[in-house]
Symmetry: C2
Subunit: 306 residues, 2 copies
Amino acid sequence: MEIREIEIFLTLAEELHFGRTAERLHVSQARVSQAISRQERRIGVALFDRTSRRVSLTPVGRRLREDLQKALDLLRDGLARAEAAGLGAGQTLRLGVFGHAGYELRPLVDVFRTRYPGSDVQFNEITGGHPFTALRTGDNDVNVVWLPVAEPDLTVGPTVYVGGRVLAVSADHPLAERGTASLEDLADYHVVDLGPDAPEYWVASMVPTRTPSGRRIPRGPAARTFHEILSLVATGRCVHPLGEIAARYNSPPGIVFLPMPDAPDLHWALTWRSTADSAAIRALAQTAADLGPISLDRSSAAPVAG
Amino acid sequence: MEIREIEIFLTLAEELHFGRTAERLHVSQARVSQAISRQERRIGVALFDRTSRRVSLTPVGRRLREDLQKALDLLRDGLARAEAAGLGAGQTLRLGVFGHAGYELRPLVDVFRTRYPGSDVQFNEITGGHPFTALRTGDNDVNVVWLPVAEPDLTVGPTVYVGGRVLAVSADHPLAERGTASLEDLADYHVVDLGPDAPEYWVASMVPTRTPSGRRIPRGPAARTFHEILSLVATGRCVHPLGEIAARYNSPPGIVFLPMPDAPDLHWALTWRSTADSAAIRALAQTAADLGPISLDRSSAAPVAG
DNA sequence: TGACTTTACGGTTGCCGTAACGATT
DNA sequence: AATCGTTACGGCAACCGTAAAGTCA
């Protein structure tokens, strides 16, 4: 007898419909049927009368429903209480972000701290060259990265902000005078190669391998960190797209950030190791989901002097 | 959160010792450690303070223990009530036995029927040639077979009786005059071949492949059923060991059953498909365990006329 | 015939055991 | 040094999804 099977039983007892039960629990219809059959075999008595048209509880099922509902409520209350105690006891989540992105997360962090006074968030810097490494080594609990993320060992949580891209070019670059850049421009120059530790598909969602018209975008010299990238760009040997947040809080010498109006917005989401799921992470994710994504355009954040 | 983990938590809360907890639950010590760690991570707070010398509940753990204990009790009560309703509702277990072995099971069946008035047992005959087939096809719910049984898909339950062996020989066989037979005698004659559907190791536990002194015991003509075996034996072409129960209720013409004092006793146990576990089967197994094995020697059963 | 449930089958997750390691008295 | 808890790793059972079959109105 597993908790999951009890949930399925209770939901079916409420819905009296296998399809709707499956939908509500986000499982297949077959799974509901299997779970109920199995329970009935183990217990040795029919819990539901069913045809392909009607599902109804047997007397035994009705009684079992009452008992199990009470037990499950008790169980969840107990766990919730323990969790609340834990969140009040002072845990610090280590949150990986690119550059100054943490600054944009202030609303989220403020609400999180208010809701869970014992808990806190500490920002660690992550880099394009190693977007997930710190998660996997256990050095970070949660990272904020642009989507899509399709790593089998990672869970993608709510999106925390949405924003556009800018192209970093050297101040004396031919594009600098135009004031904006387009995806099509990328094919004319080299972009930074983030190296083998960043998944290909993930890099490509920031820096496509081809322009919209199909021209190849050449990958140039390699760099891992924000400042390594800027160093390369400053020499004029390459250009590189970044989240617009990079332009908001940085004015590096010899670099110009050009808006890229034709590049679709990027979604930045909380991400964590699936097996490292914990109460604090769930609490942060829930808080982020409640707040919804912050749009960088509407952000009221004031620029900060470096 | 799984039921099993809750059990582990509650047991450890009681024992305050990882090793004893593991023993009580029949799992490894590592498993207990893993389960507790995992729960603590998910909940986000330590439930036990522990060194390698002392284990004690934290305040949060103490509170959780009370809640979970109540929830688990409720859950088990509900399931027990539903199960009891099922057992009272009238199920018939199909019990596979060799020949007249069902007769020896009367004490078990009587107690079972008394305890669970709605349930019943029906005997189906099984044969040495196909000891497990009916279980696997679903034609029988439980079989009574001699041990050892080492089939990955089958569960071996309590032993229901213990008894010796007899050797079936034709009435004019040289051994008949002696009145007894020994394992060593088998090498001098052929024994029946039960065919490919009975596992080799299982057949060998009734009919060894070699005598104690190491001589090979030749396998003779093939037969599947009790009466096929007796037919072969009656012709004098082979001999064959059987459970002594065969001698008790049969006096087939032209056949003599010789006790085999040097053959170790056989244990006969309830066996069922692991995946077909059900309340009725558990009830029967529990009843059998409570009664303990019936010794055929001390059996008060009166011989029955063929 | 169409809506709904059940059965069959295969992939993948995660439970759990074995074994080695670490920590405390 | 002995006892006890933790970590690492691998095998395998069970969960669950897909797809097809079965059943009732």
